[in-house]
């Protein structure tokens, strides 16, 4: 018989144990493969997506007035090696005859392009064409509207109802962002791209444009210089490079990737535990076999090869299945990551690294986990093995406990999320002691609560302490991680919510194309509006690490900033901070400060109307206004440096009892299509909340997979215990212990393993929350240490449920033990 045939037969001797070990390898490998492949794909896709979405142009030309002449576009088109497109955006309203759709849901942004088919628009046509002069909508919009190419759209403009045929349906793109349903249209307008000429005609703006987007076919620097010279003649028009805000767009994603890696690592590490456990017992129960083989001349090496062949066979089959499952898992994870971070098209999956790492891990981790048991197999003593009932003592080495404590203590000095690694290893090392203490405390409770079954179960928990505590620690680590991740999720979302509401500037930010003199008073008169205030904001350009970046600058008035708080400070009034600012001084948000890397008192250089200008950073403030990335300066200094003569934004405070949606609807009724955007703090809370909850949901899913592995571990251990104690069980049944009492006994053993894991896991989870709360910043936002009772209760219930479910099969198997067979073991 070949070595592999022999290995296969040995594995098949304990089918259920082999199956459970196989499943744990599959879960470990698939989690590793899924995490690495999806993160690799997302890492590659993110910058590509940002480039595609926001970086198609190299420069934009804007004016300090609302519009500027179309000739500017023509001038630029005359430059060599340049693509340019003129854009004019206006808001309108769809004429849509359908019951139940309110006026606010019919808002539509019309973007007029001088040419719809250029590398600057880069529309990907799925139906129709871009050159026949009709409307271009995205496939998402077409699906909600249920329209196709050739259908006519009616649009209400200031100069009456206009009709236009749909000439092309294109893939969803950031240039034509729109809601995904009529319901979402209450919050965001639809988008349609049309020829520039149409927008100019419909809105009475002949020869006017708003921006020109420029793409250089050769050197951007040369184009910049030439374009600058051309536009100077027009005055009040300026050229800005297009920069992609990787910092704001990708903020927090690296922390998320790291958490994903840790969760994936946990999966494979826990699989290793299960494999070790299962092999260790397998070798123990086959001691007599090994002894017999030794007596007929098998060498230590040959015995070790026997066991190794079983491990390799199981690892290879498990890894192959794990890779297949992981392939599907990677796609699923990728889809969720892309959805969460708003990536539209990531291209193909990057599978190479994930495949290689998980395949290697799937083979090597089981072999590594099996090294000690394999060594034990070779060391079996013939005389010892043939001694019946040799007592098994499980003693723990002292150094193990000390090393565990040291590792846990070391985590107090690590100010990085990676501190979970020493903590988890440390917990695994001190766990046997904790488990022993827990069992000692459990014994009287079990005895008094569950009577006979409880008493025997508590005694049994003290046996095979090494194996049982190892099984329990697997669940404990999973529980600790779930506690950390779930609490991080809720704490971060709550912290965000708090900062967003305290720095949004009011209940609603209304953006009009430009605000006219009477608009503010009109706004204040709307029912439900308590107060309103206009403000100025401009995207300035600054250079950091040799790269140009956008930095929103807010013009702030000391007289209104306390009523309309755009940032939060402690110890001082917001207005005092602004009043104290000199003309070339600014306040910087904590998020911008984190990216900048300078310190208070240093100067930053920003692109202004008058060229590059230095500003002193006077203080740091906290804000989540529009992502929390920005700087604040006095209004008059702002106008002098950045110039827009008109304002676009108005902050609104609502009366008590007016709902955010009512407020939006009433403001829309007043200003109609002039409104370009309405955004409230609840929108940000919902965006941030869903992104974080979604991100953590993926991590939690991975950890739950690990906890399922722990459940498998519990089942495995209990099955081993039962198999070892089959004679005892037989004796118990013989002296009158009922099946029910036996089931309760085994269930209580499993429950005890799970309860210890859950309690200790929660304690270490809370320690992890505390430690991470002392340093962890996501998007420069820290969170307060707190124990979320509701979440803890759910986790405790989950841990207990897992342990009970895992104990069920062993318990019913114990009850079904055939007495005559059990006692025949003699």
């Amino acid at each position: 018989m070949s070595l592999w045939q022999n290995a296969w037969r040995n594995l098949m001797r304990r089918k259920l144990r082999t199956l459970l070990t196989f499943v744990s390898i599959v879960i470990g490998v698939s989690a590793t493969f899924g995490v690495i492949a999806s993160v690799d794909t997302a890492k590659r896709a993110f910058p590509l997506y940002l480039k595609e979405a926001f970086g198609k142009a190299d420069f934009t030309v804007s004016g300090t007035e609302a519009y500027f002449p179309e000739e500017v576009h023509k001038e630029i088109l005359n430059l060599p090696n340049v693509d340019a497109v003129a854009v004019l955006k206006q808001s309108a309203r769809l004429r849509w005859e359908q019951k139940g759709i309110s006026a606010i849901e019919k808002r539509v942004d019309l973007s007029g392009y001088s040419n719809l088919d250029t590398p600057l628009t880069a529309f990907k046509v799925t139906e129709g064409n871009l050159t026949s002069g009709g409307a271009v909508i995205t496939d998402r919009t077409a699906a909600v509207w249920k329209v196709s190419v050739g259908d006519t759209l009616s649009i209400d403009t200031d100069s009456g109802t206009k009709e236009i045929k749909v000439s092309a349906i294109v893939k969803y793109t950031s240039d034509l962002m729109g809601p995904s349903s009529w319901m979402m249209a209450k919050y965001h307008p639809w988008s349609i791209a049309v020829p520039l000429k149409l927008v100019q005609d419909w809105f009475g703006l002949p020869g006017k444009i708003e921006t020109v987007q420029i793409k250089s076919q050769t050197s951007p620097e040369a184009v910049q210089q030439q374009a600058d010279e051309r536009i100077k003649r027009y005055g009040n028009i300026y050229l800005q490079p297009v920069v992609i805000d990787f910092d704001t767009e990708a903020g927090g994603i690296n922390t998320f990737y790291l958490a994903l890696y840790i969760a994936g690592f946990l999966g494979i590490a826990l699989s290793a535990f299960v494999i070790f456990n299962s092999l260790f017992v397998s070798i123990k129960e086959r001691k007599n076999e090994f002894a017999a083989l030794k007596t007929i001349g098998y060498t230590t090496m040959q015995l070790q090869a026997l066991v190794l062949s079983e491990v390799i066979l199981l690892a290879v089959v498990g890894t192959a299945a794990g890779l297949a499952v992981g392939y599907g898992f990677a796609y699923l994870l990728k889809a969720v990551i892309f959805m969460l971070f708003g990536l539209l098209n990531g291209g193909s999956m990057l599978l190479g690294k994930g495949f290689a790492v998980s395949a290697l891990a799937g083979i090597l981790v089981p072999i590594a986990a099996a090294l000690y048991p394999i060594r034990q197999a070779g060391k079996v003593s013939v005389i010892q093995a043939l001694k019946e009932d040799a007592s098994v003592s499980s003693s723990f080495k002292k150094w193990q406990g000390i090393a565990g404590v040291v590792l846990i203590a070391s985590a107090f000095f690590i100010k990085h999320l990676l501190l979970v690694v020493p903590i988890l290893i440390g917990v695994a090392m001190v766990y046997p002691y904790l488990f022993q203490m827990f069992v000692a405390m459990l014994r009287p409770i079990y005895g008094s609560t569950f009577g006979f079954s409880g008493k025997v179960a508590a005694s049994n928990l003290g046996r095979n302490l090494g194996r049982t505590s190892m099984t329990s620690v697997i669940l404990c680590l999973g529980i600790a991680m779930i506690v950390l991740m779930s609490s991080l999720n809720s704490a971060l979302v709550q912290s965000y919510e708090k900062v967003i509401y305290s720095s949004y500037g009011g209940n609603l930010d209304v953006m009009l194309h430009h605000i006219e003199k009477t608009d503010l008073e009109d706004l204040k008169r709307i029912k439900g509006v308590k107060d309103a205030q206009t403000y100025r904001v401009h995207d300035a350009i600054w250079t950091l690490d040799g790269q140009k970046r956008k930095l929103p600058v807010y013009g702030v008035g000391a007289e209104w900033i306390d009523r309309f708080p755009l940032y939060a400070v402690t110890g001082k009034k917001r207005s005092e901070l602004i009043e104290d600012l000199g003309p070339n001084e600014i306040l910087m948000s904590k998020i911008a400060y984190g990216i900048w890397g300078g310190k208070v008192g240093d100067q930053i250089e920003l692109g202004t109307l008058h060229g590059t200008q230095s500003f002193k950073v006077a203080a740091i403030v906290q804000s989540m206004k529009n992502g929390g990335y920005g700087i604040y300066m006095k209004e008059d200094a702002f106008i002098a440096s950045f110039g827009p003569k008109y304002e676009k934004n108005a902050l609104v405070l609502k009366e008590e009892g007016t709902s955010p949606l009512e407020l939006r609807e009433r403001i829309f009724d007043q200003f109609g299509v002039r409104i370009m955007k309405m955004f409230g703090p609840e929108d940000w809370v919902s965006i941030v909340g869903s992104a974080y909850t979604g991100s953590f949901a993926i991590i939690d899913l991975l950890i739950i997979l690990s906890v399922i592995i722990s459940g498998i571990g519990i089942t495995n251990t209990l099955l081993m215990n039962i198999m070892e104690r089959v004679r005892e069980l037989g004796m118990m049944r013989a002296v009158g212990v009922t099946r029910g009492q036996l089931i309760r006994m085994v269930m209580l053993e499993g429950f005890g393993i799970g309860l210890a894991a859950t309690v200790v896991g929660c304690v270490f989870g809370i320690l992890l929350i505390y430690l991470t709360s002392t340093f962890l910043e996501v998007n420069s936002l820290t969170y307060q240490f707190g124990i979320p009772i509701g979440i803890m209760l759910i986790i405790v219930s989950f841990g207990i449920l897992i342990s009970l479910v895992s104990s069920f099969t062993p318990a019913s198997r114990a009850a079904k033990t055939r007495l005559s067979e059990a006692l025949r073991y003699e």
Partner: protein, 230 residues
């Protein structure tokens, strides 16, 4: 006390059906001390298990102390074992993580006997087997003979009228074996307990009132009174 009529037992195995016991009639009176002898694999232990309600016969009927075991369901058989039968095994089968007292109290605890009553019963049983000073010890701290005496005390806990002993001296040296047999004999004589003991040991069998000899699953001698080897 014990009546087996045309009792057979078959087991299914991969090789097919295996007949462990052929049709047998056995009658045992109340208070008898019976030894069952026979070569290995002859069906001695199977017979003992059937009498103890650990398993059911493939055919035939078994009546113990007026209770027809064939008519009992699983739970009723468990309660029957708990209250009517005491088992003693060759390997003692003590639970290693429990003290001597806890082992003895096992069936009392399973029967939810009040604690005070249970404690006094355990002490009295341990006195009976001369081990009252070992009640807090663990099985691993006792000699083989002492362990078997604990097992006998455990078997007596629920005051059964029938003791089924499977090779009770099989693991013991002559001295300890003799002690255990003395104990069983005393229980038989003084307490009028019915004892059925499976043994290979002819000397041990001599303590019995009657020997039932089994060969290839068939009772060849001693099934009913007057046929025995003694």
């Amino acid at each position: 006390m014990i009546k087996l009529e045309k009792v057979t037992k078959e087991f299914a195995s991969e090789a097919g059906k295996f007949t462990a016991l052929k049709p047998n009639d056995i009658h045992i009176r109340k208070g008898e001390f019976i030894a069952i002898m026979g070569p290995s694999g002859s069906g001695k232990s199977t017979l003992l298990q059937l009498i103890g309600g650990l398993d059911l016969p493939s055919s035939g009927s078994i009546t113990v102390d007026g209770v027809k075991l064939n008519d009992l369901n699983e739970k009723e058989r468990t309660l029957f074992r708990r209250t009517k039968v005491g088992f003693v095994f060759q390997n003692y089968q003590l639970l290693p993580m429990m003290t001597v007292a806890e082992n003895v109290a096992l069936s009392l605890a399973a029967n939810k006997t009040p604690k005070a009553e249970m404690n006094s019963r355990v002490i009295s049983l341990l006195q009976d087997v001369n081990l009252e000073d070992k009640q807090r010890n663990f099985p691993s701290q006792l000699s083989g003979g002492q362990q078997q005496r604990v097992a006998i005390a455990r078997a007596l806990a629920m005051k059964p009228r029938l003791i089924l002993a499977d090779e009770p001296t099989g693991n013991l040296d002559r001295k300890n074996g003799e002690d255990v047999l003395q104990l069983l004999s005393r229980l038989n004589k003084e307490e009028q307990m019915t004892i059925v003991m499976v043994t290979h040991d002819r000397q041990a069998a001599k303590k019995a009132d009657r020997i039932i000899l089994i060969r290839d699953g068939e009772v060849v001698q001693g099934g009913v009174e007057g046929e025995d080897l003694l």
